[in-house]
Every structure is written in structure tokens, then in C-alpha cells.
Amino acid sequence: MTAPLLAVENLRVTFALPDDPHTAIRAVDGVSFDLAAGQSLAIVGETGSGKTTLARALLGLHPAGAVAGNIRLDGRELTALDEQGWRPIRWRRIALAVQNAGTAFDPVQRAGDQIAEPLREHLGLSGSDAWARALDLAGEMGLGERHLRSYPHQLSGGEKQRLMLAMALSCAPDILIVDEPTSGQDMLTRAKMLALLDRVRQDTGISLLLISHDLAAVARLADRVAVLYAGKLAEVGPARDVLQRPRHPYTWGLLNAYPNMSTARDLRGVRGGLPDPAHPPAGCRFHPRCTQAVDECRRVDPPLQPVRDRLVACHLGGLQTLLRVDRIAKTFSLNGNGFRVEAVRDASLDVLEGEVVAVIGETGSGKTTLGRLVAGMLDPESGAIAFREQDVSDLSGAALKSVRRQVQLIPQDPFDTVSPRLTVAEIVREPLDVQRIGAPADRVAAVREALAAVGLPDGDSFLTRRPHELSGGQLQRVVIARALVLEPKLIVADEPVSMLDASEQAKLINLLKDIQNERGMGLLLISHDVALVRKVADRIVVMRDGAIVESGPASRVVTRPQHAYTRALLGAAPSFDWFEDPGPASGA
């Protein structure tokens, strides 16, 4: 393999706060990546993650002394260059299309002159030759002489954006850095911009470094994706894989927060906010927001290391597979007559950290049995169930007890599962008593916390109520609180809302999702209600007669069902579409 066009190694950009010169802010902290000729790499991350700082470092635009590490272009070290040394690199080799094209042009000079300017400077063209070349470039962007003769304020935002691109491409650079090419644009302008960038890439074979938080733009333009979090890379890999199967919890969170047309699921932000750049947290920078953080994450900064097809900076190797069900089967014999019912046949599924996997199917399809097998209330006859990569059947004693504690079942009918004689406090505290967790006073505190988490009052008057004094919705919340009190990593919810009216259903399903977003855990949601499930599920597993007939990303299963049974289920799902569409209301 030949040396990459651009090799960035352990790049660090440090600023001193203007009003406090002793506090150093490390906006980019040890970033390494390669960019091959003709390749396109996207750097994604939230606002403030250091993306723009990184882009500017590649052009030597930071004050002297701010940048450390290596930037090599064709093997030549650039970080040691002074302002004069950088000049032939800038625009001629690496050009930058800045984020806000509206302010990228000098307001008192004609746009065309500003495009021609670097041509005269770098290529030594005469004024008229440079203008002619600028006209060519503008033509490629669908603009003409009139636009070149205009002053920036006379141009629209989209025109400026395209002229910015023309300006960046003027000296035919090897690398084009595009900083947020789509931010603040309406969808049609954005689509045109992306098509233009795509065409430029194909026509010129330029290497593209795309700085963006627009994940859909990234998916369209980038070969590879590097996810930047608080100045450090969290995950680097092929764009398709990273965006479809994120491994780092941060990438996963970003994708869940990104609005797109591929799913009906609700949006979830990544909990918490970016750390204070002057005082980043110890250990992994993402750990305060990470739902699966362990002790090591708080102490040791994880290096970016290979995990299968990509690089991930995570002590746990990225999102954990909480549950792996591998070809399990369970049969029941019907009393007397020797018939056996295959309740679950050859079922396999995974649940990752933070994921909602929905199992749908009609009554008698084996969903509930599957849930009970996972929750450990039944043992499979064949196959294996692994929790956090540990086969449950291998475990015994304390280890097994710990797994049981971490997997909790929310049953279908709450009235079936709570003793009518117990008070709310006793119901929620019961698992703690049984598992002998904490001192009695701690248990009461834990009960109150769990009740608060599910949105129930935690006062004494409520704690002493008994099940018959509660509404169905309240009791179901009590049952969820009972599951939460053990701080489980996986919740198996068997028709958790089917007994409730639509409004209560909506509240409870959102509550479950909120709790998951805050605490981080896997959710295996067993339901017959496709319409409900698609609002929360990341993946859907369809069961029929004990077998899994189809599984996949929720969006795919809902929009392009493969199996006839799935189509039947979707066709029967509640919908208001049978009201005839009256078309747009005509004006009176």
C-alpha cells in the first residue's frame, strides 16, 4: 500500500483562554487519521467537538505554537512550517470551503475577483486569464458572469455557497475540506449542494474531507467516517458500517438523535452535554454520558483500537451485546394425549446496549415463552442464551444470581403478578428483600427513587396504598418500578401496555424509552401492536408458530416487509387511512 496523501498523527490543538492564560483548552486532543488520494473521509460530531478546529489546523490557520503532532502531506511534514511556508500549501494543495459561505466573501470586493485572487497568487495567471478561469469554474457550478460581477451582498445564500465551492476548487487542490456544507440550508438547497459535491468528487477525483454533523450527507458522500467527541476520535470505520451498525455508544447516540425519513421512531438526544473543554473528565471523555460506563472508563482514557471492521475507542469494545439468544427451542407437552407443542423453535436474536428489540406476532406465536426463556423463568431445551457474552447455563451461584438480577421481566397483566395484600412500598421493595440488597434504610430510599423514576408520587401516603386502590396505569408503573429497583441491564417487557387505554399506553411507552435513554439498558419488547412498536423499536423480530420468520431494522421491517406474515400483521395494524382522503382543503 502506498503512503496516504494526508496522514494526521496525534494532532493536538491547544488554546489559552483569552481572559485566563493559564487554563489551556485542548480543542483537538491526539487525533490520527489517513486520507488516501481520491478518498472521502467524514468527520462527524456535535457542535463543539473540535471539528472546525481540526479543519483549520490542516491549513495551518491556528496561531503559532497551538498545534502539535504531525500533519504529513505526501510524506512532507507540515506542522513545522511557518506562515510563509504554509502559503504554497494553502489552496494550492489543501483548500477549505468554510461553514458559512455568507460571510466567507469580502463584502467590498466582487465575488469573481475573490475567486481569481488565488489563481493569480498561486498559478501566476494574469488578471484576464484568472478571470476567464473563474468564469469556467462558475460555469461548472451553474453560475455565470453576472454572479462573478456581483458583490457578495447581491448574491443569494445558495449562490454564495456554490461560488465558495468554485473558489475552493480554483487551484485544483489535492484535498478539499468542506466544513458543514449543508448546515442552515433548506432541504432542496441542501440536496443540490450534495449532488454538486458528489459530481465534483467524481469529475476531479479530489480527496474530500467532510466536516459535518449531517449524518445523511455523510452517508451520501463519505467512504469512511471518523466520529469526533470532545477533541478525540471515538470511532473510525467505513461509512456504511458505522452509520448502520454503530459500535461506539456515542455514535449510537448521535444516530438516534438524527432526524431522518428511514424510521418512524422518536428522536432521542444523547443524555447530558459536551464536557467543559477546559476541564475534560478523567478517563474516557464520554463516560459521564455513557450508559454502559464501568469503573475503568472513569480512570483510563481508552485508545482507539481495532474492533473487527473498524477502530473504536472504548474499553468495552463499543456497545455491548447484552443478550444473545442462539437457536433456542422450547416445547410443551399437552397433558395426557402425547401431543407436543413447539412453543419456540430455533429462535435467535441479539439485544445491544441501549437498544429496543420488539418481538411481534399474534397470540400463541411463542412470544411470551421466548420472553420467559430470556428472563430465566424457563430453561431452553436446546440452544444457548448468553448475557453479556456469558452463557447463562454455564453460570451458577452468585454469578447466576447477578444475571437474574440484571434481567427483569415486566409481565403482561400487573394484577396477576402482585399480591393484593402488599402495599406499594412492599411490592417495589420485594426484590431487594429477596436478593438481600442494601440495608433496610437504603432499600426504602431505592424504592422512593424507583417510584420517582416512573413518575409516581413517592410520599408516604402513596407508599402505603394497596393494588386495588391504584389505577391500571399506576399499578403497571409500580411493576416497572419494581423491575427498576434492581437496576437491571435488560428488561423483558411482555405486552407492558396492552391493558391500558391509548393515552396511558403512550405515556408508559415513552416512560420506558426515557428510562432507557437515561439509564441505558436493553429492552426486549414483546407486543402484538405493530403501530406502537414502530415508534420505539430499533429492531423488530416477527414470530409465527414459535419460529422467527423475519427480523431486521424496524424501519426496514415496517416499510419493506419480506415475509407474507409480516405483511399481514402490518396490514391489520390500526390506521386511519380508511377514511377517504379528501385531498387538500379547497379554499372557501
Binding site: W86, W91, V98, N100, F105, P107, V108, E121, Y151, H153
Partner: protein
Amino acid sequence: MKSRFALTLLSLWAVLTLNFLLPRWLPGDPLAALLDPDSSSYVYNAEVRGALEAYYGLDRPLGEQYAGYLTGALSGDLGRSIRLNQPVTDLLREHLPWTLLLTLSALIAASLLGVIAGSEAAWRRRSPVDRALVVVSVVASNAPVFFTGMILLILFGVELRWLPLAGGRTPFARYDNTLAQVRDYGAHLLLPALTLTLALVGSKFLLVRNSVIGVLGEDFMLVARAKGLPPRRLKRNHALRNAIVPFVHHLAAHAAFAITGALFIETLFQYPGMGRLIFESVVARDYPVIQGVFLVVSVLVLGANLLADWLTARLDPRTQEN
């Protein structure tokens, strides 16, 4: 631009009208304002005063007086000086060129200095050079002109004897050629112009420096740098080119200050400009002259602003719209 021109005409009319009304608003009749009872020229005889009133047209209706005043002012008749018994226009014609010579040369020198030093200081923001320039400019622009003028006078005129002490030219001198004349005028001009330059340069320096610093923080400056342009081009074609627009406006507003600043300096250096004319007229309560000077200064400021607007429209394409 058209509307700016109309506005200037309107302002001019307002100035003329104010000039007409002010003496008539003063307590007593305009003649009492003209002739101070304390002054030696006060006319005690009521009959003579009445004749004077008739002579000056003060017994006619106000509208008629106003019309007469306007036609007079527009045709260059600003009345007569009571002290010198000369037409005010003649006095202005004699003194104004001296003041213009002084203020214009000082304004040009201060502008050049301010722009060059200001943009360099901004470019080297927070460097020792920048800090030193800021301190010097603040001190220079706040020191009273008579103080700096006195020091310069003592140093170059008294101690070193390099330059003449007073006046606009050597009295009774006859020049063999133009060069000798220019040299003599220049030698007399140097100290007052230097004093005025020092008074003016500070605010110009600070303004240019701050404008350039503002421009340097703009995105387009970052882009210009990213384009690999040489520093000279960054400074001149982009940074200064943008920062010059507020400077032009400042310059127009400063025209009035330059003239009043010149007043003290002209007195100090016995320079034969408007400053001395004003000073002596005020002492003698020579109202027609004071009014004439007021009118001329107003017209100059209005003209400067109009010029600045025209220049801005040239310099900043954004202002050409509407």
C-alpha cells in the same frame, strides 16, 4: 445618494435660518446684540439707534427681513463687521485659506499616520509595539493642544531656533521665486500643523486599529488567509479596505473638531486663520463675523459629510443599494 444631497440642502437651509433667528431671539433688539452697552461703540442716542434700525432694516416685518437675509447670504453678502467695518465675506476670504491650509495638512498627516500605524498595530495585536502605540496615542489625543503646542514652540522655536515662532509668513517678505515662498509658508505651517496632527492622530489610530481588529476576526479574512495570500495583500486589499469605511465617516465628523482645534492653535502660534478671527470677534462681540464664521464652519462640515457619503458609496458596494 440623491436623498443624501437633498438632506444636505435641508440642513443648509436650517443652518441659515438658525443663523437668522438666533440674534433675533436674544434678549433686547438685534441692535442691542450688535452694539453692546458696555462697548465703547454703543450708541446712546435713541434717535440715532432708530436710524440705525432703519438702516439695517430691522423695522421691516420678519418675513421680509428673512427673505432679504436669505438672498444676501446666498449671493455672498454676510453683512459687515462692526469692529473692522469690513464686509464679513472679505474677512472670511482673507482668513479661511490659512485655516484650510492648516487643518487640511494636519488632517492628511494624521490620517496617513493613523491608518498606517493603526493597521500595523491591529495586525500585531497585543505585541509590545501595539501596546506602546495605544498608550502614546491616548496620551497624545488627550493632551490639550495649547500644552503640546507650547512645548513644541519652546523646543523648536525657542531652544533650537529651527522654526519661526509665530505668524503664517515672514512679515513684509518678498519672494524671489515660488519655491522660496513655499519654504517660508511651510516653515511657519510646520509647528501648528504638527500640534494639530498630534491632537488628531490618536483617535484616528484607535479607530483604524479597532476596525482592522474587527475585520481580522471576520470569516472572510480567515478564508483569505486560507487562500495562501501574502500578508501584504491580506492587510491592504482585505483588512484595510474594509476598515477604511468607518474611518471615512469619522473623518467627516472630525472636520468640525479640526477647525475648532485649529482655533486654539492659531491663537497660540499667532496664525492668521479663522481661529484668530473668531477669537478677536468674540472678544469684541462682533456678532456678524461670528455668525459668518458659524455659517462657513457649518457649510464645511455639511460638505465634508456629503463627501464622506459619496466616498463610502464608492468604497462599500453595500451602501449603493436603495
